[in-house]
Symmetry: C2
Subunit: 358 residues, 2 copies
Amino acid sequence: MSVDDAEALPERTRRRRAPKPHAAGVKAVAAAAGVSLGTVSNVLNRPEVVSPLTRAKVEAAMASLGFVRNESARQLRAGSSRILAYLMLDAGNPFFTDVAKGVEEAAQAAGLSVFLCTSSEDADREAAYLDLLEQQRVQGILITPIDQNSSRLRKLPSRGTPVVVVDRTLDDAEHCSVAVNDILGGELAISHLLELGHERIAYVGGPNTIGQVVDRREGARRALRTAGQPLSNLIELTTGALTVAEGRGAGQRLAGLPADRRPTAAFCANDLLALGLLQQCVSLGLRVPEDLAIVGYDDIEFAEAAAVPLTSVRQPRQLLGRTAAELLLDESSNPDHEHQRVTFTPELVVRTSTRGTL
Amino acid sequence: MSVDDAEALPERTRRRRAPKPHAAGVKAVAAAAGVSLGTVSNVLNRPEVVSPLTRAKVEAAMASLGFVRNESARQLRAGSSRILAYLMLDAGNPFFTDVAKGVEEAAQAAGLSVFLCTSSEDADREAAYLDLLEQQRVQGILITPIDQNSSRLRKLPSRGTPVVVVDRTLDDAEHCSVAVNDILGGELAISHLLELGHERIAYVGGPNTIGQVVDRREGARRALRTAGQPLSNLIELTTGALTVAEGRGAGQRLAGLPADRRPTAAFCANDLLALGLLQQCVSLGLRVPEDLAIVGYDDIEFAEAAAVPLTSVRQPRQLLGRTAAELLLDESSNPDHEHQRVTFTPELVVRTSTRGTL
DNA sequence: AGACGGGGATGAAAGGTTTCAAGAGCGCCC
DNA sequence: GGGCGCTCTTGAAACCTTTCATCCCCGTCT
């Protein structure tokens, strides 16, 4: 992550490059094929209306001139884009790349392409990308927002760019949203730990500007309340981001506590944190789950392959992405579209990190 | 990955949506502000040349009309795009997302934005995205190609779209490329295993259409030759993709062999394969590294956190991305640009999966 | 007082495509 | 042989910005 970039000295070899050429447009193609502009355009957009012979001539001309359609001009005139964008929180988190896979799947089925952007949990980047995508007039935007109250986000749909919020629920009347019930997820995790008899439980997550984090914590608190336990039993460790590195930091803090005050279990707001926490605690000599039980969130592929296979709250990732993309497509093609809020239910996957030997 | 999408039944709530509005252009803004078209454009592109008073009027008009610049029109006229694209092999592989992070970094420093696309190791998708990006007239394309002999790929630069090949070296005179010496990486891995006394070694990787895979295998063979061992000591297990799931499959095959013919070590073409292999072998009762030593490739963040911390060949991921983006920027802005081939050197990181207790 | 210069604003042209109403060519039928 | 209908092609308008040469207004210099 950071060690990574110890400046290795690379070898370089150089060569001169060829001069830059000039692009051929429909006009040139039309001239070369001996037809009119309109015909070339027809070959491009409605090949069935042009006679096979003419089409062949035009296609030959295109090939020989190396014609490349200018999408800006096309879009300017035609007014429509064939592109969806998914603006993710963090490309390094396999959860989001799995969601993205679902999005791609649905988009491909509809003949659209997907551009991925990443805000890296930075509100300014998010805003900049939203502006850019709006200016590009993409067909629609899927977003896992960092700042869900952003006025930018709210204004987009009213200006004609459909937006679907992914992995978050907005009470707003302007968007569709597809989410997983994070409060319930938090409850599942903590109830499980309570059932196992844990009483001092750490909650590791942050920053609290991220909705998912807040909801999962809320779920944790509810589970305590339901069980009739005081909220003070939940020790909160706030992190600066949802990354492995932050998880290690939290592990350091946890392991540093005297054994009689140290929590016996930890619930992490996502698997990246959990993996970092696990790694650090193990390397500092804590046994998992005997000294510290750990529950993660997302059930990413690496959770199962971890040093101690991780108990985690699973979400239907690809389905989430696919559903979101389908809602977006409906919104941009169906005049009777109604905004929807779709909520999936998470599921607890129990592994060694809480239950020990099976 | 696949279990993921057991169809959970979501709850849905619906609401009616507002009707679609009509967009305001420079023209409307000019009218509202009582100035000419050109002035509005100046406010947008060269604010310093317009008087503060006029500028304020125009900006007010923009805000009240909700003006959004039409990027297609801008690009059509101005001829330049402010976007780079990185077409990756697999967004689910943390190696590539780390490279992407480096790309973003360099792009942001230059005031550009990055669109990520993923070919998912599918040549048709790759081709489709290349066409799309060329038509979009992006400023340049960074690509980790699946099909490096694609004529599409070769033709792009000659038509005006700069291309930098990432994590692969092309002997071609048309592109810059940034890579890590994969042959050397393979040698490092195998030499390490040979030094530890292993004689029957598995090579797990594929498909062989992917250059990295081929090079790493080639390095493995060289190491054997150097050590004076027969190539038959390298047992090749070919996989269909570089994924955790394929790794599990390979693990299944390996563990099924009778102990006296089973390799005592495995070198995997990437960490995803290695993690899958590790997981499967452990769950089938093999001890790592006692029964089977494992070396991965890429040293992704999860390698260290694995069930048995993974020995792996590390590459400077972000640096790779950053360097590639910088070359691309140079190519598209510097008229004296010379194509370069930059090669970084990989490094072996030894952990428990080969050396056992330290 | 008149010429000059410069900061600001202007308006028309240009950029490559799609769209669409209209035209051309041709075979067929009465 | 003339008219009709059909298929295919045409050419110009429109999409929205940016660009750039031009113009205007005023203060300044001689």
